[in-house]
């Protein structure tokens, strides 16, 4: 199976159903409303539409993952998470590179994502990959205190 190299001795590969629990734990650390193990199992069984790219070490300890949803000639970044103690090491960029490399072999021409407008580090990363802001969704996110924040919608033409 295809493997991509990532910083810190990590590699990236397509996740398997057996990774669902670890992925759900990591997701819950990063997002207020984490998705369930069952939801991730659902995604992982449907690799053609919702593949999950997992960055892990040799012992299968997961440092980050990214999930996309692909429909026809469009794809969307559903979620991307890097473990708190593994951030600022280029793992997010490595995950994005793996996704873009993978999408070359699919009919996908346009790749979309949403990001909190205050998440400057992520926005910078996406801009470095050529994503451009195409819209805003105000009040899209809500944190555990009920505070709302705006999402930027960004897109990348895969040419």
């Amino acid at each position: 199976m295809k493997l991509w190299l990532a910083p810190n001795g990590l590699h990236i590969e397509c996740g398997e159903v057996s990774d669902a629990k670890k992925i759900a734990e990591l997701h819950a650390q990063a997002f207020y409303r984490g998705w369930s193990v069952a939801e991730f199992e659902g995604f992982l069984t449907n690799k053609a539409h919702t593949p999950i790219f997992v960055a892990s070490d040799k012992k299968k300890s997961i440092a980050g993952f990214a999930i996309i949803r692909q429909t026809g000639d469009e794809a969307e970044l559903l979620s991307i998470v890097v473990a708190k103690n593994k951030r600022s090491k280029g793992i997010g960029a490595a995950l994005l590179r793996a996704i873009l490399d993978d999408l070359l072999n699919t009919p996908v021409e346009k790749f979309f994502l949403e990001v909190d407008e205050k998440n400057y580090a992520a926005i910078k990363l996406y801009k470095n990959f050529g994503f451009v802001e195409i819209a805003k969704r105000s009040g899209y996110y809500r944190d555990k205190n009920g505070k709302k924040s705006t999402a930027l919608v960004m897109s990348l033409q895969l040419e």
Binding site: M1, W35, N46, A48, R69, D73, L104, N105, P107, E109
Partner: protein, 200 residues
């Protein structure tokens, strides 16, 4: 006398060009990088074609035939490579020949009755059986890789990089009417709705 032929392969993560003139074949390979500051196939293909022509003292008007890999492979790459080949051929009033990738990959195999099975990602594979090099006995198929390995008795994927020398040699003799430069995606753009709803 062999034709002055330009061959283009944009089906993978690298641009491969080959120029055949007289008994010489020159090959130019350039990796494609991903990201904002990198250049994709569309940005580099004509510069690289100019480069390989120039270093062989050939001008566009001397080209007699253009061969292009038609896939399956990188959808973006195939669109760029096939468009470039057809555009050039139209302008120069010469023939284009489209050679499907699995057929191209068969050319370096000296066995009889063998299969080529390559990684299509996401647990899938592209597979095709051949009587011998350059002679398929079925259409290319998209299969789960476990099924393909079982059917074709394989333990690993074949290398998916086209050997440009055999590609050029093969392209010299083909009939353009039988090998049109049309993309062969095998995996079609499917927009079917998922049966299980997503809660997102």
């Amino acid at each position: 006398m062999s034709k002055i032929l330009l061959a283009i392969d944009t089906s993978g993560a690298r641009l491969q060009l080959a120029l055949s003139a007289g008994d010489q074949i020159d090959i130019l390979v350039k990796d494609i990088e991903l990201g904002r500051f990198s250049k994709g196939f569309a940005e580099i293909i004509f510069d690289k074609i100019a480069e390989i022509l120039k270093r062989n003292d050939i001008i566009y008007q001397q080209l007699e035939r253009i061969c292009v890999a038609t896939g399956p492979g990188s959808f973006t790459g195939l669109r760029v490579g096939i468009s470039a080949a057809r555009g050039l051929a139209l302008g120069l009033d010469i023939e284009t020949i489209g050679i499907p990738n699995l057929l191209a990959l068969s050319l370096t195999n000296e066995a009889k009755n063998f299969a080529i099975v390559i990684d299509a990602r996401r647990n899938q594979s592209y597979a095709q059986n051949f009587y011998q090099a350059g002679e398929p006995n079925e259409e290319p198929k998209l299969l789960n890789f476990e099924d393909a390995f079982e059917i074709y008795k394989k333990h690993e994927f074949d290398d998916a990089i086209i050997d440009m020398k055999s590609f050029v040699d093969f392209g010299q003799s083909l009939d353009a009417a039988k090998f049109p430069a049309n993309p062969c995606y095998v995996r079609e753009a499917d927009a079917k709705v998922q049966s299980k709803g997503l809660v997102i």
